[in-house]
Structures are given as structure tokens and as C-alpha cells.
């Protein structure tokens, strides 16, 4: 099967700082790919190149190709808004809008001009169910999203992405601000989502990568050191640096 996303020799510069060095990898469809590595290794930056989120940071520059279904998303004429509809993102800090739960979920469909075609009530229910949040909030849909707990807020943010029906979901350390119980819920949720979505998750929690992902990429100082099946990376790492990292010798 062709990869969903393929990056070829991606280099990324923040001003004169070379943050990503020649990153080439494949991301398989309907599977979870985890990117691990110590803080500042470029894994988040790399994740953000996949939906061109870095475009909004001034002074950045990218070289190389990022192919989504074989089409280079950095090519001239690519509609970034359309791209981000296909490649959604969940951030490290839960960031619901200061609006009601309903309005948070309906935000994407409304902005995409789908509200006249779709029944928003149905979209909201479906998305919240898919994010395993429906039962907890169904009676409070018009209450402020900010009143939810951190874990609920993060599942709301996932539901908000699902409402747009992307093909790929990028998750940037989605559990780092959450307690273990909420983390577990999100990890279970991710497994369910692979039926319909391709997921790329950045995490500094190696156990999490081992638990949830099919594929793992290890980043160090802007380079992708090793990439392969998660079982192999964690049991038979080929590179000494990968081994040092996963056995806790640094990072």
C-alpha cells in the first residue's frame, strides 16, 4: 500500500537555525505513527510541517517535499486551508475556544460552509460520540467549553477535529497536560480512531509510544535517527543513540 504521507529530505530553518535535517519517512494509512525524542529534537516542528502549521511563524523556511497522497503540499498553488481540512491537528495544551461545547464542535463545519448541508446537531453528537465525550456532556452542550476538565477539553478538541472529517490527525503531545486516567482514555480513543483516520502523534512519553503506535520514529537534534515498527525500535534498536534514549540514558 502506498504511504498516506511521505516526506523527502525535509530541511527546516527557523531564522538561521537549522531545526530539521534531511528527514525522510513514510506514514502508513489507518495506523498510528509515533515520533519520539528528547525536548527540542524537532519532532513537534516536523509534525507541524505536515499541515503547514509552521507557515504562520514568521522567519521560517522549509526545503524538501511533503507528499500527501503523492501530492506535494508545499507546491505552488496548494490551498493551505483545504490541506488543513484534510490534515487536522490536536495541540499540546487543550485549547477549546471560549465558546459553548456545541459551538466548539460546530466551528469547523460552519467555517467550511457545510452548515446548510449538514445537520449540525447530528455532526456534534457524532463527533462527541467518536471522541468518547458524548455521555459526559450531552446535557450541557450549550455550557462553556472552558468549564470542562483538562481531559474532557482535550477530547473536545479531538471531537472538534473529527467534525471536519479529516483524513489525517496530527497530535502534538496531546496527553502531556493530562492526568493518567485522562491519558488512558485518549489512548483508547486513538485506537478506535485508526479505523477511519491516520494518526501521527508526537510524544515525549516513550511508554505511550510503545503502547499506542504501530510505527515509531526517533528524533535527535533535528535528525531522524531511526524509523521502523514500534516493536523493533523498542526491542531491537539498530542505532546506539536510539538504544541509549529508550533505555533512559539521556533525554
Amino acid at each position: 500500500m502506498d504511504p498516506k504521507i511521505e516526506t523527502k529530505h525535509v530541511n527546516f530553518y527557523y531564522g538561521s537555525v537549522h531545526c530539521l535535517n534531511d528527514v525522510t519517512l513514510h506514514i502508513k494509512e489507518h495506523e498510528i505513527t509515533a515520533l519520539i525524542g528528547p525536548s527540542g529534537c524537532g519532532k513537534s516542528t516536523f509534525l507541524r510541517t505536515l499541515n503547514r502549521m509552521n507557515d504562520i511563524i514568521p522567519g521560517t523556511r522549509i526545503e524538501g517535499e511533503v507528499l500527501l497522497d503523492k501530492q506535494n503540499i508545499y507546491e505552488r498553488g496548494v490551498d493551505v486551508v483545504e490541506l488543513r481540512k484534510r490534515v487536522g491537528m490536536v495541540f499540546q495544551q487543550p485549547n477549546p475556544f471560549p465558546k459553548s461545547i456545541f459551538e466548539n464542535i460546530a466551528f469547523g463545519p460552519k467555517r467550511l460552509g457545510l452548515s446548510h448541508k449538514l445537520n449540525l446537531d447530528e455532526v456534534v453528537e457524532k463527533s462527541l460520540r467518536a471522541a468518547a465525550l458524548w455521555g459526559e456532556v450531552k446535557d450541557n452542550l450549550h455550557k462553556s467549553a472552558l468549564a470542562l476538565s483538562g481531559g474532557q477539553q482535550q477530547r473536545l478538541c479531538i471531537a472538534r477535529v473529527l467534525a471536519v472529517e479529516p483524513e489525517v490527525i496530527l497530535m502534538d503531545e496531546p496527553c502531556s497536560a493530562l492526568d493518567p486516567a485522562s491519558t488512558l482514555k485518549i489512548e483508547e480513543l486513538m485506537q478506535d480512531l485508526t479505523k477511519n483516520y491516520t494518526i501521527v502523534i508526537v510524544t515525549h512519553n516513550m511508554l505511550q509510544a510503545a503502547r499506542v503506535s504501530e510505527w515509531t520514529g526517533f528524533f535527535l537534534l533535528g535528525e531522524m535517527i531511526e524509523y521502523g515498527k514500534t516493536v523493533d525500535i523498542f526491542s531491537r534498536p539498530k542505532d546506539k543513540r536510539t538504544e541509549d534514549y529508550i533505555t533512559g540514558r539521556f533525554g
Binding site: 499541515n51 502549521m53 504562520i56 514568521p58 486551508v81 483545504e82 488543513r84 481540512k85 487536522g88 491537528m89 495541540f91 495544551q93 485549547n95 477549546p96 475556544f97 471560549p98 465558546k99 459553548s100 461545547i101 456545541f102 459551538e103 466551528f107 469547523g108 467555517r111 467550511l112 450549550h142 455550557k143 462553556s144 467549553a145 472552558l146 468549564a147 478538541c157 472538534r160 477535529v161 471536519v164
Partner: protein, 280 residues
């Protein structure tokens, strides 16, 4: 001195400063209301000033002129003010042009209002033939207040976390949708505060209106009519007549108007926010 006694001293000093500020505020407001309110009556509000040395009559035309001026000024001011703030925060890159704009805005904010008055007199009253009118006054006030509104709106927009913008963009919304549906609603209370500040300045301004609105005590019939606002009327009463009690009553009305406007706008802004936030 021990840490404890410096702490005590600082506390006394800070409490004292607070108390003095509040005291002065209440003294002024209390004094004006105490001397002004006894003269307040419906007929005072609804009769036109008759002019002359005795300051006979009421303040009806000044009230109407003030309302016209506030509405017209804010109506013209709001779009370029907030628009410029959005541009500076969301679109402008940090280069020499934006640095010049920011420097200009800061400088303008510190220029005395009579300088704007002079500018308004030369441009709007004379060159553009708007003569002494509410329009000339409003346009002059717009120049005077743009820096204030731009800076307050800019701070409010900057205070909206970047994560909100990123979330909106990551959901496939355009930059403008993110600004319109996420950033501006979140920044609204701060922007409203800026508008209230501007209304306060309009109500209190005399110098630059003195040279752009003439000061006729007649009822304005169009935006090209001259006129006097409450503050300007107050100025005339206090300097050209011996009707000090009327001046005090006018001042009392002015204070009440400011309080009422602030309350109304705050209420509207809170209602809007509550709606945005959902039922919570």
C-alpha cells in the same frame, strides 16, 4: 530597618495612596453632584440655553449636540481604529514601516488636543468647507482618538492566546475566519474598554471642539450645524456668564451621562461574552 517594618511601611504607603485617590475622586464627584443636583429639573434638561451673561435656560441643545457628536465620532472611528489594530497585530510584519506606524501612533497619542483642533480648523473647517460643524468636530476627534483606540484594541487582540488562532487554522478556517470568529470575540471586552475611553474623551473634550464646532447654542439641524457639547457649554457658562450654579448642574449631568454610558456598554459587552461562552 527590618524586613517586617519595611513591609509595614509599604503597606501603609500603598493603602494611603489608594485612600487618597478614592477620596479625591469622591470629593470631586460629591462636590459637583451636591452643588449641581439641586438645580436639576426636567425643564433644565429640555429647554435650550438662551445665552447671554446670565446663562439663562437649560441644556437641551447641548445634550442633543453631544449625542450626535458621540455617535458620529464613534461611527467613523471604529472601523479604521480596530482595522488598524488588526493589521498591526495579525498582518504586519515587524519591519521599518510598521515601526514607523507604531512610533507615529505613540507620538500622536501624546499630542495636546488643541493641536488637533488647529489641524481640524485648517483642514475640515476651512479647506474642506465643513465650517464650524458637528462633522468638523467629529472628524477632528477621530484624528485625536485614533491612536488611543488603536493601542487599546491592539493590546486586547495581542492578549488572545496564539493557541486559539492555531486551533482555528488547524480546523481549516481561513485567517480572516479565525480573526472574525475567534480572535475578535475574545478581544471584545478590551476593545470595548478602548471605546469607552474614547467616549469619555469625547464627552470631556473642549479645546479642540472650541475651534472646530463654533459653539452655537442653537439646536443642530444637520451634521453641518455648529453647536456646543455639554463640556463646551460648561466652559462657556463658567467663563462667559456668572451662572456658576448652572455650570455645576451641567457638570452633574455630564458625570451622570458618563456613568450611564459606561454601565450600558459594559452590560452589552458582558451579555455578548456570556452568549459567546454559552450558558455558563
Amino acid at each position: 530597618m527590618s524586613a517586617k517594618s519595611t513591609q509595614k511601611l509599604a503597606k501603609i504607603f500603598i493603602w494611603g495612596s489608594g485612600a487618597i485617590t478614592v477620596l479625591i475622586l469622591f470629593l470631586i464627584i460629591g462636590y459637583v453632584l451636591a452643588r449641581g443636583l439641586p438645580g436639576l429639573s426636567l425643564s433644565f434638561l429640555f429647554t435650550a440655553p438662551r445665552g447671554g451673561l446670565s446663562g439663562e435656560g437649560g441644556i437641551s441643545t447641548a445634550i442633543v449636540t453631544t449625542i450626535y457628536l458621540v455617535i458620529l465620532t464613534i461611527a467613523i472611528l471604529i472601523l479604521p481604529g480596530i482595522g488598524a489594530a488588526i493589521y498591526l497585530v495579525e498582518y504586519a510584519r515587524d519591519n521599518w514601516l510598521t515601526r514607523i506606524i507604531r512610533y507615529g501612533v505613540d507620538t500622536l497619542a501624546g499630542v495636546p488636543s488643541i493641536v488637533f483642533g488647529l489641524f481640524g480648523f485648517v483642514i475640515f473647517v476651512t479647506a474642506l468647507h465643513f465650517s464650524f460643524s458637528i462633522l468638523s468636530g467629529a472628524l477632528t476627534l477621530v484624528c485625536l482618538l485614533l491612536p488611543t483606540l488603536i493601542r487599546t484594541a491592539e493590546e486586547a487582540i495581542k492578549a488572545v492566546p496564539r493557541s486559539h488562532r492555531e486551533a482555528a487554522l488547524a480546523l481549516g478556517s481561513t485567517k480572516w475566519q479565525a480573526i472574525w470568529h475567534v480572535v475578535l470575540p475574545a478581544a471584545l471586552p478590551g476593545i470595548v474598554t478602548g471605546i469607552i475611553l474614547c467616549i469619555g474623551r469625547i464627552l470631556g473634550e473642549t479645546a479642540c471642539l472650541y475651534v472646530t464646532m463654533g459653539g452655537s447654542s442653537a439646536m443642530p439641524t444637520s451634521l453641518l450645524s455648529g453647536g456646543r457639547t455639554l463640556a463646551l457649554h460648561l466652559f462657556y457658562l463658567a467663563t462667559d456668564t456668572n451662572a456658576m450654579s448652572k455650570a455645576m448642574t451641567t457638570a452633574a449631568v455630564l458625570i451622570i451621562v458618563i456613568l450611564v454610558i459606561n454601565t450600558i456598554i459594559n452590560w452589552i459587552s458582558h451579555r455578548f461574552q456570556a452568549r459567546m461562552l454559552g450558558g455558563a
